[in-house]
């Protein structure tokens, strides 16, 4: 292996020579002086590591066996507390979510991207684009994605897109009533109007051909009326063979408490869809109120009708999904708090995982891409000759041959995600912080608090224990 080879350390490679050292000096002068020289080289690094890494490592383990103030020895007391505190269980649960979902997804996307970019001419440009987020701090990335997931469809891209689709499917009415915010359609009924089935309103009294009916509503803001070009309410004249009527806002600024009468300073409700409601409940002809609130049904025959104000008037528009909240995607609402802590899947976790994938998929892609490029082309050609199609070659030859690389990526990402910290602080909203927290976050919070050092130390030790399998795997790989 030539030293000048630019690809020498291109792969996540273990040293090319075996690790067993040549015990005893290689031939050629030097003697004690060189022995000393190379030992001196070791000194700065060794000292630094001993003082700031090795000693603290042991000290933390010891510290975890003492209480918060550090004076009383409580053996495994901190550990017991950890597993019985719901908040910390929530953190552990979140770590599990991250560990189960993320490494697999990032390796998968890395593989897909690596394989696909081999087929296109602009592979380098694509790789740059996907790789670049690695340069962002998790802090900057967190707040970038927080802005993407903004609640308000006006400012958040995702919610804006969802709104576009949702409103296309279910167009909002002119007078939306947000039932999720506690509003109700029935509350709008004021004069001569009562709640009807299915979110409608209907007239209390009936009307026949030649009659006029007045339907008064409250709880509609002047701003909304203005948007819908409402003018002063006008009671329409009756017309034979037709039913006429008025839907108006029964609130007069000059007579604020009076109800039932159409005052000159009251506004009609424009653009309201009304329908003829037969006695048997079937809905007949529909029409829309004019800007003064009046409407007219011509040629209604001799039946007796009620007037229905249809439900589509009150259809609430899409309001935005709270992606950064701790709403659980699993149905755990009815469980006891501990079980809830363990089994709920906060939606913010998924949002953050998406953000983190955005950062790290490029890493997986580049590492797997390097592994892919290093595969013996002839083996893939042999598969072609053996009769494998593209897909069969990929599935039965390429991917199995990539296994070592895939494992390295997977494990690296696993370790990375166990310590997940920055992105939660900067992406989850303040109200979601506790529901989205992880071990690393708990360590920090306990460390910063007055008496939590013992707990923090214990949590750190647990984090270390979780990382040990990966450590052993690395050691085995280097040795073997």
């Amino acid at each position: 292996m030539s030293v000048a080879d630019p690809t020498a350390d291109a792969l996540p490679v273990e040293p090319k020579q075996d690790v067993v050292p040549t015990i005893g000096a290689p031939v050629g002068g030097g003697g004690w002086k060189s022995h000393l020289g190379s030992l001196l080289f070791l000194l700065p690094g060794a000292l630094w590591l001993l003082i700031i890494v090795v000693y603290p490592f042991i000290a933390t383990i010891v510290r975890s066996l003492f209480d918060g103030s550090g004076t009383r020895f409580i053996a495994l007391g901190n550990y017991k507390a950890i597993f019985s505190t719901t908040d910390i269980i929530v953190s552990l649960k979140n770590n599990v979510v991250w560990v189960v979902v993320f490494p697999f997804l990032v390796t998968f996307f890395g593989l897909v991207f690596a394989v696909l970019t081999e087929r296109i001419r602009w592979g380098t440009a694509f790789k740059t684009i996907v790789f670049m987020p690695l340069v962002f701090s998790a802090t900057a990335a967190g707040l970038t994605w927080a802005s993407i997931f903004f609640n308000d469809p006006h400012t958040g891209v995702v919610n804006a897109a969802v709104q576009g689709v949702a409103n296309g499917v279910n167009p909002p009415g002119l007078y939306p009533v947000d039932t999720s915010a506690g509003e109700s359609v029935g509350a709008l009924a004021a004069t001569g109007v009562e709640s009807g089935p299915g979110g409608t309103l209907q007239s209390k009294s009936t009307v026949t051909a030649g009659g006029t009916i007045e339907l008064g509503l409250t709880g509609i803001s002047p701003a909304v009326l203005q948007t819908n070009h409402a003018t002063t309410a006008q009671v329409p004249s009756s017309s034979s063979g037709a039913i006429t009527g008025l839907v108006w806002r029964d609130f007069s600024p000059s007579h604020p408490t009076a109800r039932g009468q159409v005052f000159p300073d009251e506004d009609g409700i424009a653009g309201m869809h009304v329908a003829l409601l037969s006695a048997d409940g079937s809905v007949g002809a529909t029409t829309t109120t004019a800007s003064d609130g009046s409407f007219s049904f011509a040629g209604v025959g001799s039946s007796i009708y009620r007037i229905q104000i249809t439900a589509n008037n009150f259809q609430a528009g899409f309001n935005g999904i709270f992606f950064l909240g701790t709403q659980s995607l699993t149905p755990t609402g009815s469980l006891n708090p501990t079980l809830q802590a363990v089994l709920s899947l906060p939606i913010v976790d998924i949002a953050m995982i998406i953000a983190y994938l955005w950062i790290w998929a490029g890493f997986a892609m580049v590492v797997i891409g390097a592994g892919l490029a290093a595969l013996n082309r002839e083996v893939l050609e042999a598969a072609q000759i053996d009769g494998a199609s593209e897909w069969q070659t990929l599935r039965r030859v390429t991917v199995p041959m990539l296994r070592p690389v895939l494992v390295v990526v997977f494990v690296t990402m696993l370790i990375n995600v166990l310590k997940i910290f920055d992105i939660i602080l900067n992406m989850a909203t303040p109200s979601s912080q506790s529901g989205a927290s992880t071990i690393a976050l708990d360590i920090y919070n306990n460390f910063a608090s007055n008496n939590g050092q013992g707990l923090a130390a214990a949590l750190a030790v647990i984090l270390f224990i979780l990382v040990v399998p990966a450590m052993l795997m690395n050691l085995k790989r280097i040795r073997g």
Binding site: N376, E378, V379, E381, A382, A383, Q384, I385, D386, G387, A388, Q392, R396, V397, P400, M401, R403
Partner: protein, 367 residues
Amino acid sequence: MAGVVLDDLTKRYDGGALAVNKLNIDIKDGEFICFVGPSGCGKTTALRMIAGLETITSGEVRIGDRVVNNLPPRDRDIAMVFQSYALYPHMSVRDNMAFGLQLRKTPKADIDRAVEAAAKILDLERFLDRKPGQLSGGQRQRVALGRAIVREPSVFLMDEPLSNLDAKLRVQTRAEIARIHTRLEATMIYVTHDQVEAMTMGDRIAVINEGVLQQVGTPKELYEAPLNRFVAGFIGSPSMNFIDLKVSNEGGVVTLKGEGSELQPDPTLSALLRDSGLDIVTVGFRPEHLEVGALAGPGLNVTVTLDVIEFLGNDVLIHGSSGGQDVVAIVDVDNVLKVGDSVVLSAAPRRLHVFNPVSLARMIGTG
């Protein structure tokens, strides 16, 4: 089994470089033919075009009666053995050999039978459940051969399969392949840069240089009657000596003279030289055809100053120079020679090849 025909086969890369230039070779059904030539001559590219791993710029490849230009490798009924063996590292030997058949949805019983049979021929029965990583180079190459055999293809393609083996294994495996060829009566196209390999294994040999076919023939034909200077120099080890000699015509008597060498042509050669009107010709003669001692009659006499003497057992390999041109000879060990000696070596007329110095074509020689 099927024959393979290369009809004006050409490969041009983007940028204009011609890797293979109008190759015309007619390979008979059941024949073992070697494509041989120096590195980069296009022999591997030609093989890969037959396999379907490279696109064909122009010309045709016919396997049996079918034109296979636009068929993918899997539909050409071929099997290939690669230089690096190209075994599937994550599969056992058995699975390596069974893979192709599995893809074709062959019934399991048939697959097992085929694999067992191939393993028996290649003495791989003990290794069926091992992975390639646990095998030696020679064993891996046998697995590669087994993978090819199991498919029972019309044509076997082999790309320098022995290059990665050590000398002893190479000899062994060479014999294996020859045995397999006899047993299966299969058409085999074998690419190598080693002309010794080609000479020992092939029924016929195609010598290729810079993408152009130089000559196709049996080993004997290539050895005794090379069509041009390239083939003459390529076949035979150590390679043929070449010296340039001036044609001198003194009153009808033609002699060829060089610094330190002189050639008295026989009547046929004389006539040829007279008619050709050339001033200079290149004369080729093989090291093994030189004898110590001058020839009185027609033939080549070359005075050589020796600088290296290598003992070969029954013969001696000597290097020297004559008039500034290098000469190598293999002579009997009984000759008493030392470095610095000036000896006269001679070669009989029937051992001489004369080449046109411009066209490099052979004008005359043993044929």
